[in-house]
């Protein structure tokens, strides 16, 4: 054979072989003694687009938790006394966080989930809101993936999805905890509710309205507006004309909460305002038209600046160290729960099998289960969804005091309600 042709053939075989070896996605190499097996934790997240403020903060919180579990320092090691990583049958494991951006687009979420399941071989996947969950149900169920979700929506959890858990404060448990306090302790007897015309918005308005009536408050009006509205003036005008003790802006989009409060003050309203949905403190401050507008504002879905629990303070310090103080707000704490709790459940189940982990997790509660949001916590939801896969945590009522969000009360929902 021609010498040049032979050399070319050999080089081609070597090149092709090298490419194929590089592309091969085999399992992790057999660990040496004492070495940890790295297993993937996938997240279908929102790292760009209009939901990036929540998606990015969630991703950053997850990174902190994964690093903390793997390194055994900070919270996992110092506060909870764990060694680095987690063990199943004596074998040490560590997480590899794999995050892809689905841009709050359903079609994109299908690509992301397929990649996480079939290429990255993830058996544990976190999904940012229902937009990514609904179109991928079949894939996730057929491959028996353990799914954690943090968002509202119908049919997120149910007996037909035995490995899906939700890690978010539901408006009904939130309302069940907060509304009695608003009435009994803060003395609010009348309220006007304003919320957006989305599925979540309607749930918020309905649940809060029901609980208000139940405790004896008078709901003077319930108004809903088109999503995306920035001009709340007509709704606030109508509410203010009713002369309520409290105006509840429920499920107002987080970046617009400052706008809501600002417009209420522009209409001459000097009374109390309660915001009942997640927001970011930084955006509230930047868009409220002056700190005097939000002084005294009542809100929930975040803890106050003081972060009373050591693990909350640790998370805040770690988050600020990595991303700066301007990126922190108290609503971030609950984003750290999923990976943390799933790891605890794996250790309790002593198994990486998603079904076993699901069974372990649904039976866990404080003090065995620890939520960054506070104690006690447990998994409820059976009365509504037929399965206890919805994380129930305390509700925090905060009030803006001297320009900072301060915790007024930490309230536990009634145990038998949900």
């Amino acid at each position: 054979m021609n010498r040049k042709l032979l050399v070319a053939l050999v080089l081609t075989v070597v090149l092709v072989g090298g490419v194929l070896a590089g592309c091969a996605k085999g399992g992790a190499p057999e660990p040496g003694e004492g070495e940890a097996i790295i297993i993937p934790f996938g997240t279908c997240s929102c790292l760009s687009g209009p939901y990036a403020p929540w998606g990015l903060s969630e991703h950053w919180a997850q990174e902190i938790i994964v690093d903390d579990i793997n390194e055994g320092g900070g919270c996992w090691g110092d506060i909870y006394g764990h060694e680095p990583g987690f063990r199943v049958d004596g074998q040490l494991y560590k997480w590899n966080l794999i995050a892809y951006d689905y841009k709050i687009d359903s079609a994109e979420s299908v690509k992301v989930i397929n990649r996480l399941v079939y290429e990255d071989k993830c058996k544990f996947i976190h999904v940012f809101v229902w937009v990514a969950l609904y179109p991928n149900r079949d894939t996730l169920e057929e491959n028996k993936i353990f799914v954690s979700e943090q968002g509202m929506g119908e049919d997120i959890i149910g007996p037909e999805f035995p490995r899906t858990f939700r890690f978010l404060q539901e408006p009904n448990t939130n309302a069940a905890a907060l509304v009695p306090y608003l009435h009994d302790e803060l003395g609010f007897n009348t309220c006007c509710i304003i919320g957006d015309d989305t599925a979540d918005g309607v749930v918020y308005s309905t649940e809060y309205g029901n609980w208000m009536r139940q405790v004896g408050m008078q709901v003077l009006s319930e108004q809903i507006y088109e999503p995306g509205t920035q001009d709340y003036t007509p709704y606030l005008t109508k509410a203010i004309a009713e002369n309520p003790d409290l105006i509840a802006g429920l499920k107002v989009d987080a970046p617009l909460m400052g706008m809501f409060v600002k417009q209420a003050r522009e209409l001459g309203y000097e009374g109390e305002i309660f915001m009942g949905a997640p927001f970011t403190w930084k955006e509230l401050v930047e868009t409220c038209g002056g700190m005097e507008n939000i002084e005294g504002l009542l809100s929930t879905m975040m803890i106050g600046e003081e972060c009373p629990l050591p693990r909350q303070k640790w998370l805040r310090d770690e988050y600020i160290a990595r991303h700066g103080e301007m990126e922190w707000d108290g609503s971030i704490v609950d984003r750290a729960d999923p990976i943390h709790m799933i790891t605890l459940a794996i250790e309790k189940a002593n198994s990486l099998d998603p079904d076993a982990v699901a069974m372990a997790l649904e039976s866990m509660e404080s003090p065995e289960l620890k939520s960054f949001y506070g104690d006690p916590c447990w998994f409820g939801g059976e009365t509504v969804f037929g399965i206890n896969h919805d994380l129930v945590t305390p509700a925090h009522l905060i009030r803006v005091t001297n320009g900072r969000p301060v915790t007024v009360a930490t309230l536990t929902p009634p145990r038998d309600y949900y």
Binding site: A52, D197, I224, D231, L256, G258
Partner: protein, 291 residues
């Protein structure tokens, strides 16, 4: 608090801002015979430019406002020569071009400006109580500025040679060309003024509302309704329809419900198309807009 005067004030205030958004769209449609689907994105650009000029560089607001208008005016000139001129006369190409611009600018907005909401604050601080109407200084001021810009535009359109050329090209571009009007220059000025109006709208909206990349979508949807209701290519009709839309939105939201306010606005436009296709003050062009 009395509801009627509050709704009236709110509706008129919104309507003044809608005038600016809709006029830009109307002028482009009338002169260039093009629907600018990216109009909302230029509103967004105007808001962000003003935000950066005012909030980050410390310029005072009037300077930032004028600079925004000048920037978008220049941008319009350049865009017309580079992109719109080659497709002049081809309606489908113009449609696709502006749609492409819309998608491009929106996504660039997310990349360049980020996703967090911004606001232009502290420009016109203070509250006002005008009889039984509660409002803010910034709402009154932005409405007044919007009216001022509108008056300036009307002056250009009806008192200057440029405006006469616009109207001539709008009526019959070939005849205008025969009269010595340079169509290319007129189209450049047209797009430049349209974008400057969009920028002005954005600069004012940014004071009252939050600034974010998709902020232009809603006012632009309303702008389309406005130019249909007022009459295609009719500036007085656009002005009247903008005020009407603002009032309908305000009163329906207050007295019926916010969830039906948009439905009411679009119903109004639908009825206008069915029963009076030329709009409130448009020319009688027959069903398909032909003489």
């Amino acid at each position: 608090m009395e509801l009627f005067p509050q709704a009236l004030a709110g509706g008129l205030g919104s309507g003044c801002l809608y005038i600016l958004v809709a006029l830009g769209l109307s002028i482009i449609l009338g002169v260039m015979k093009t629907v600018n689907f990216a109009h909302g994105e230029f509103v967004m650009l105007g808001a962000y430019f003003t935000f950066y000029f005012y909030s980050l560089t410390g310029m005072n607001y009037p300077v930032a406002f004028v600079l925004t208008l000048v920037t978008l005016f220049a941008l319009g000139f350049g865009l017309e020569k580079a992109f719109f001129r080659p497709v002049r006369g081809n309606m489908l190409a113009g449609f696709i071009l502006t749609l492409g611009f819309s998608i491009l600018l929106l996504n660039l907005g997310f990349i360049v400006f980020g996703t967090k909401s911004r606001g232009i604050s502290g420009v016109f601080p203070g509250m006002l109580e005008l009889g039984s109407v509660h409002t803010s200084v910034e709402k009154v001021a932005t409405a007044a500025i919007a009216l001022g810009v509108m008056v300036a535009l009307l002056y250009i359109m009806y008192r200057t040679k440029l405006g006469r050329s616009f109207r001539a090209v709008s009526q019959d571009s070939e005849a205008a060309q025969l009269q010595g009007v340079n169509i290319g220059n007129i189209h450049s000025f047209c797009l430049a003024i349209s974008l400057a109006l969009a920028g002005a709208a954005g600069a004012l909206l940014g004071i009252i509302f939050n600034i974010y990349p998709t902020m232009g979508t809603r006012p632009t949807s309303l702008a389309f309704v406005i130019i249909v209701t007022g009459g295609l290519e009719s500036i007085p009709g656009t002005i009247l329809a903008a005020l009407l839309v603002g009032l309908v939105e305000s009163f329906v939201s207050l007295y019926v419900g916010g969830e039906v306010s948009w439905g009411a606005i679009f119903l109004m436009a639908f009825l206008m198309i069915v029963f009076r296709p030329r709009g409130l003050l448009g020319r009688d062009r027959g069903f398909l807009g032909r003489e």
